[in-house]
């Protein structure tokens, strides 16, 4: 597979959220506003890319029986670094989504890519895979956050969209997240079926 395709597959064909249904908790929890969603998306891109690179580098040196604990240590290390950087330089964001930044450790996208891809490929390919999957995650979470923030709070990145319109509050609440996610998945299914024909 060409390097470019390696990068591209995470965005549509194997989108981690919409197709593989991985990393659902952060997608649902932090998509209430674009600010939180983009913060989360960028953190995942950083962790995923670097974890893929490191795991690809150490793969020959880690015995296969204890690979999972080793990967978890690497991922937990990267997540803590990102968590501390956000707490230090973006305290507001840390307050809003801090718990979910810590929970990137158990985000199945990261461990899933480590196991399924990084452990079998060279660092360059692993990095591109991580970057592509991370961007796929960012795109998916941004779509959901856009729908929720515009419909639920009449805002986008905190800016009013239609002055004077009373928004549908439930879209911002957990129920709205689930509703939006189900509908976005269905829309993607329709598009994928059309393309297949």
């Amino acid at each position: 597979m060409s390097l470019f395709k390696e990068f591209l597959k995470g965005i549509w064909e194997k989108n981690p959220v919409l197709v593989l249904s991985l990393g659902l908790c952060p997608t649902l929890a932090t998509s209430g506003s674009m600010k939180n969603a983009v913060g989360m998306g960028l953190s995942v891109i950083a962790v995923l890319t670097f974890s893929n690179i490191i795991i690809s580098l150490i793969k020959s040196f880690v015995p296969s029986k204890i690979r999972i604990p080793c990967y978890i240590i690497v991922i937990a290390f990267l997540v803590t670094v990102v968590d501390m950087l956000i707490a230090g330089f973006a305290p507001e964001l840390s307050k809003a989504i801090g718990l979910f930044i810590k929970l990137i450790v158990v985000n199945c996208i990261i461990l899933g890519r480590a196991e399924a891809f990084a452990a079998k490929n060279n660092p360059l390919r692993a990095a591109l895979d991580g970057l592509g999957m991370g961007i796929g995650f960012l795109i998916a979470i941004s779509i959901i956050a856009t729908v929720r923030e515009v419909l639920g709070a009449n805002k986008w990145f905190g800016l009013t969209v239609v002055p004077g319109w009373d928004p549908i509050g439930i879209m911002i609440l957990p129920a709205g997240a689930l509703l939006t996610f189900g509908l976005v998945m269905a829309v993607r299914n329709v598009l994928a079926q059309r393309r297949a024909k």
Binding site: S33, N36, P63, K65, V81, G88, A96, W156, L159, G169
Partner: protein, 214 residues
């Protein structure tokens, strides 16, 4: 036996490298993290009592099984002109921590929500500034030259309502009225919680003060 030793060594090595790495990053970020926290508290202290010139040390007051943390507020001559009460309550989905500046008789000077992670767009609007920015104006603003806005601290409209109220007036109402606290639309629970975080410590504090517990 040999494999166990091998596995143990590999795990230990990776964990050791990770631990050392984290302690280095911790050294770098520790400063900014605590700075950001103390800066937020300092700004909050000034906003909750603008006429103050200095603040006392953090003190604790235990009463009715509840803990209130408070600061004494001084004027230039080191006279106590009021107090700032620090209190947390449970909101809709997070802990809300509020700093309330009061005069000695319990009248609110100003409040500042220090911590909250409520629902964006609903409860989190307790921190919303009175803003007329829309996407349209933001985009047109990119093309027209802006005059520099002065670095004036704005107070979120919801929090501004508390200024000058007595504890008895701190009641949440749904329709706008000057005498009470108008709830944020769609976020009654958060509005009630913030109001409780202001009212409850004032009442407990005044009672304890009257009984000479300070």
């Amino acid at each position: 036996m040999k494999t166990i030793l091998h596995y143990g060594l590999v795990l230990l090595l990776i964990a050791g490298v990770a631990g050392v790495g984290l302690s280095l990053v911790d050294r770098i970020t520790k400063g900014p993290i605590s700075e950001a926290q103390s800066k937020r508290l300092e700004e909050g202290q000034k906003l909750a009592f603008p006429s103050a010139s200095s603040f006392g040390e953090l003190k604790k007051l235990e009463t009715d099984g509840k803990t209130i943390e408070y600061y004494e507020v001084f004027d230039e001559g080191k006279n106590v002109i009021g107090y700032e009460l620090l209190y947390s309550v449970g909101g809709y989905q997070s802990r809300i921590k509020v700093l309330t500046g009061i005069e000695p008789d319990g009248k609110v000077v100003a409040i500042r929500v220090l911590e909250q992670a409520e629902t964006p767009g609903l409860g989190a609007e307790v921190d919303a500034l009175p803003s007329s920015d829309t996407i349209f104006s933001a985009i047109t603003g990119l093309f027209s030259k802006k005059e520099d806005k002065s670095e004036e601290v704005q107070i979120p409209w919801f929090q501004a309502q508390f200024s000058g109220k007595t504890p008895e007036e701190l009641i949440v109402v749904k329709t706008k009225d000057q005498k009470h606290i108008t709830a944020l639309s769609g976020a009654t629970i958060t509005s009630t919680a913030v109001t409780k975080a202001v009212k409850e410590p004032i009442e407990l504090f005044l009672k304890a003060k009257a009984e000479g517990q300070l």
